[in-house]
């Protein structure tokens, strides 16, 4: 393809320091937080205005050049992996909070705004933005929208999609559209286009302005840490809490290996020798929380925990969460490489799912650390392997595939919050029929006829045999991606 006219056009939009084309610059962008995949883009552009971003998308459409929008590159599914022969649109400088209205309890933000910065800005009004992915100090809201990100506290408040009221989007063909409105009441008339866009993994275009809901900060938190002698009892404790009718803000479980990682990573100071830890957090109005707290302590007492701790102050609460939130990255201390999975099972099957993961782990001879959002059945098994051993990645991926298959068989899903991205494309047929997938693709082509927006993500390659993991990845065979 002759890229020259396209690049000349880009050069008219961007000064040299915002149009990166040198090899060394592109190298730094070739992976997101899933380093098993690498693809070098032909350029990275850094727009500073929405107009520049819109103009760039229009050029991509005109010249048929694929693009991927990127924020902080924290995707664990390879969602922001660049596309070979395509460009990266880095949105980090579109990072303005354009409006923060404490009366309406909304904020209008650009996609490059970091998740936590919204809460920091809203803090003086005693408001916050609820969805809290573990990467919230770095991940951007644009990525949260694309992947409908969740987090520990989404059990009570719902995922990103529950907090987006309005969107201004540049669609893949360059058309600029607006969905939703600035008020909660405005949502619900006509088709739920926000619902369609949030979680579409960048296949339709780029969100340029996002209107988010802000919530009043909880008056009170009650954070309980319970230690168990085995994982299954901890899993059953979750079922007991759910059965009691209480809805905590968060319910999280970590197993022995995850605890070990968190301890070595952040000195969390968790109870020693625990086979599993359950974190339950109540939050909301003081009076209600205190009542619920008494009830939940009863349930936990009966659940077989051998040690129960209650955070006495904000510092102790943060300490409990520090270990949990840093757990994924801390696993880097136990193993040079790992795969994070994101399968979901119905909560009633949690115990069964964990036992099966344990069995598979033994069968494959690979350690699996479990750290997950127990409250909504969102598992995060981390499969540890040493990528320097030949065939180790393939072996680990095979185990990952078995775990995801199990999730689907139990009535769950292949992804709870990380998205399909690059990593789980091939498992889509386990969840969706050919007709389902064709329908999704038809909708996508309606909006992005040239399939330039985040091309290659979510849908399995046409020729890729479903759930078969031997030999090269189809995209590798095509030379689109490479991995080591």
């Amino acid at each position: 393809m002759n890229d020259q006219p396209f690049f000349s056009a880009l050069q008219k939009i961007y000064p040299k320091d915002r149009l990166l084309t040198q090899g060394v610059q592109l190298l730094a962008y070739e992976s997101d937080a899933l380093t098993s995949f690498q693809a070098k883009p032909t350029a990275v552009v850094i727009p500073e205005t929405q107009e520049e971003a819109i103009e760039t998308v229009r050029l991509c459409h005109q010249f048929g050049v694929p693009f991927v929008a990127r924020g902080s590159g924290t995707s664990l599914s390879g969602g922001s992996l660049p596309i070979k022969d395509g460009i990266v649109i880095a949105l980090n400088r579109l990072n303005h909070i354009k409006k923060l209205d404490p009366d309406q309890r909304i904020a209008v933000v650009e996609p490059g705004v970091v998740n936590l910065h919204i809460s920091q800005a809203a803090d003086r009004y005693n408001l916050y933005y609820a969805p809290d992915p573990s990467s919230q100090p770095v991940c951007t809201i644009g990525g949260n929208v694309a992947f409908n990100s969740g987090g520990a506290h989404c059990l009570k408040y719902g995922m990103t999609s529950n907090h987006i009221l309005g969107l201004k989007v540049v669609l893949a063909d360059g058309e600029v559209v607006e969905f939703g409105s600035e008020s909660l009441e405005g949502v619900g008339v006509g088709p739920d286009l926000i619902g369609l866009f949030v979680g579409s993994e960048g296949l339709f275009g780029i969100a340029l302005e996002i209107t988010v809901r802000l919530l009043p900060k909880p008056e009170l938190y009650r954070t309980v840490l319970a230690a168990y002698n085995d994982l299954e009892t901890a899993g059953n404790a979750v079922a007991m809490v759910v059965a009691s009718g209480l809805l905590p803000g968060a319910m999280e479980i970590m197993d022995r290996l995850a605890i070990k990682a968190a301890e070595s990573g952040v000195d969390a100071g968790y109870p020693e020798n625990a086979a599993a830890l359950l974190i339950v957090e109540l939050e909301g109005e003081a009076e209600q929380v205190e009542t619920e707290f008494e009830e939940i302590m009863e349930v936990i007492k009966e659940s077989g925990a051998y040690e129960v701790r209650v955070a006495k102050d904000a510092e102790q609460r943060l300490q409990i969460w520090k270990g949990r939130k840093g757990a994924f990255s801390s696993v880097g201390r136990l193993s040079p490489d790992y795969i994070v999975q994101d399968g979901v099972v119905p909560r009633s099957h949690l115990g069964k799912a964990l036992a099966e993961i344990d069995r598979l782990s033994q069968e494959y001879g690979l350690d699996v650390a479990n750290v997950f959002h127990a409250g909504d059945g969102n598992l995060h098994p981390l499969i540890l392997f040493n990528g320097r051993e030949p065939g180790a990645l393939e072996h680990a991926e095979e185990l990952a595939g078995k775990i995801l298959k199990m999730c689907v068989d139990l009535g769950g899903s292949i992804t709870g919050e990380h998205g399909v991205g690059m990593e789980k494309r091939r498992y889509m047929p386990a969840m969706f029929s050919e007709v389902d997938l064709e329908t999704m693709k038809a909708i996508r082509r309606q909006i992005d006829p040239k399939e330039i927006s985040n091309r290659g993500k979510m849908f399995p390659g046409g020729e890729a045999p479903a759930l078969k993991m031997t030999g090269m990845h189809p995209l590798e065979a095509q030379g689109i991606i490479s991995r080591e």
Binding site: Q25, D32, A33, I46, V114, S264, G265, S330, D337, E484
Partner: protein
């Protein structure tokens, strides 16, 4: 992260570098802690991006020259290290990488001259003093590199305080509680000799006897920081000989950068005959604030007037040495003194050793941010544990035409004693 580095090619530090790279999982948690990422917002100027580039160079897929602009921009503030959940020792990686890449890179004549000037002058108090006094700093650079000259001259005062040589020994007041050796430092003794004198008085006030080995010299940290490994070793060897770690309870420093550098002596001599001696030395090094806090600091009497003070964390105390509470404890123990926290306090002020000379633009932006955060506190004075930070803050305050007293932590403690004694 997987890598294909042939560690045998890189000497004793090959393993150190490979381990750091291997433990990085590219999660991006470091982005929020990196000053250059905050200013530039580009992946190459983030810790994880730099790790990636170093990996590519060490794998011989990328040339040293191509990667260099982005690695040169790293302040070495180490803000990323405590933030990293995966425990990547970026500090060891960048110092080792600079030691490996520095001898192999091609620098322009003016660049080499500036570095040589730094290497030949800064570590030697008498040369530094003479160079400043005779205006040589200016003459040497005139015309050759106006930008850097401007940056350098902007930081160096036109008139220097009078030199006050330290005695070889300073007695404890009252009952002796401990015996320490003091590193007198290099740049700091020229720019502000009172910091060392204040250190002697405060230690003495707390019943500490001090020896000041006369054969000591610059600790070599600045040279380590910029990849001049051989020069750093030469300076460190001088100190290994001058100090007797076994005969004292601690080797005290009052400069954040010196403390973190000397704690890395073990790494500097890794695989060399001095390794274990250097480890022992490193083990004894303590910042003055940590030592006093552990010993049990004797608080001064109440200040005659209330005073609000903003404490500015030096990166090489907070990040490189994990020292957060001790200086705060000491200051907070002074009755009538209110300690205020600086917003985004963990973010480097842009001083970072010789950084404000080598990367003046980014250093300038960071300095402005820092000063704004300090002014937001409304404090009556600023305190920090590092001469570099104090100089940088002073420069940016002056630039805005604001006059605010600045103290080294130990000078404020000394002042408090003298207010009330």
């Amino acid at each position: 992260m997987q890598h294909r580095i042939d560690i045998n090619k890189y000497g004793p530090r090959g393993q150190t570098m490979a381990e750091a790279i291997q433990s990085c999982v590219h999660c991006g948690f470091c982005l929020a802690a990196c000053p250059t990422y905050k200013v530039l917002g580009e992946e190459m100027d983030s810790p994880r991006g730099r790790i990636y580039l170093m990996k590519e160079v060490l794998e011989e897929k990328l040339s040293i020259e191509e990667a260099q602009p982005y690695l040169d921009r790293c302040l070495g503030c180490i803000g990323c290290v405590p933030t990293c959940p995966s425990g990547v020792r970026y500090d060891e990686l960048i110092v080792s990488y600079r030691a490996f890449s520095e001898p192999q890179r091609r620098r322009s004549l003016t660049d080499s001259m500036a570095r040589r000037m730094i290497a030949e002058t800064l570590p030697y108090p008498s040369r530094f003093r003479k160079a400043v006094a005779s205006g040589k700093v200016g003459k040497l650079f005139k015309g050759a590199m106006p930008e850097k000259m401007g940056a350098m001259l902007g930081l160096i005062p036109t008139d220097l305080p009078v030199d006050k040589p330290l005695p070889p020994f300073y007695p404890a007041k009252g009952k002796r509680r401990a015996k320490v050796a003091l590193l007198s430092g290099c740049v700091q003794t020229v720019l502000d000799p009172d910091i060392n004198w204040a250190t002697l008085r405060v230690l003495s006030e707390n019943g500490v006897e001090i020896v000041i080995p006369q054969a000591q010299g610059c600790c070599g940290s600045i040279m380590m920081h910029i990849g001049e490994e051989e020069r750093a070793k030469k300076l460190a060897r001088q100190n290994l000989q001058a100090f007797r770690p076994n005969e004292v309870d601690a080797i005290i420093t009052n400069a954040a950068g010196c403390g973190s550098g000397m704690k890395e002596y073990g790494l500097l001599f890794k695989g060399l005959p001095e390794e274990s001696e250097a480890e022992q030395f490193a083990h004894k090094v303590q910042d003055i604030t940590v030592f006093l806090d552990k010993l049990g600091f004797k608080p001064p009497a109440a200040l005659p007037e209330p005073l609000t003070v903003a404490y500015q964390d030096a990166c090489h105390l907070l990040h490189a040495q994990g020292i957060r509470n001790p200086p705060r404890n000491l200051l907070a123990s002074i009755p009538n003194l209110t300690l205020l926290e600086v917003g985004d306090g963990g973010l480097c002020c842009g001083s970072a050793g010789t950084y404000n000379i080598e990367q003046p633009e980014i250093a300038h932006q960071l300095g402005q941010r820092k000063v704004q955060h300090i002014l937001n506190t409304g404090a009556q004075a600023v305190v920090s544990g590092n001469i570099g930070c104090l100089t940088q803050i002073q420069t940016h305050l002056t630039e805005r035409g604001i006059s605010l007293p600045l103290f080294h932590t130990v000078k404020l403690l000394d002042w408090a004693y003298r207010q009330t004694n």
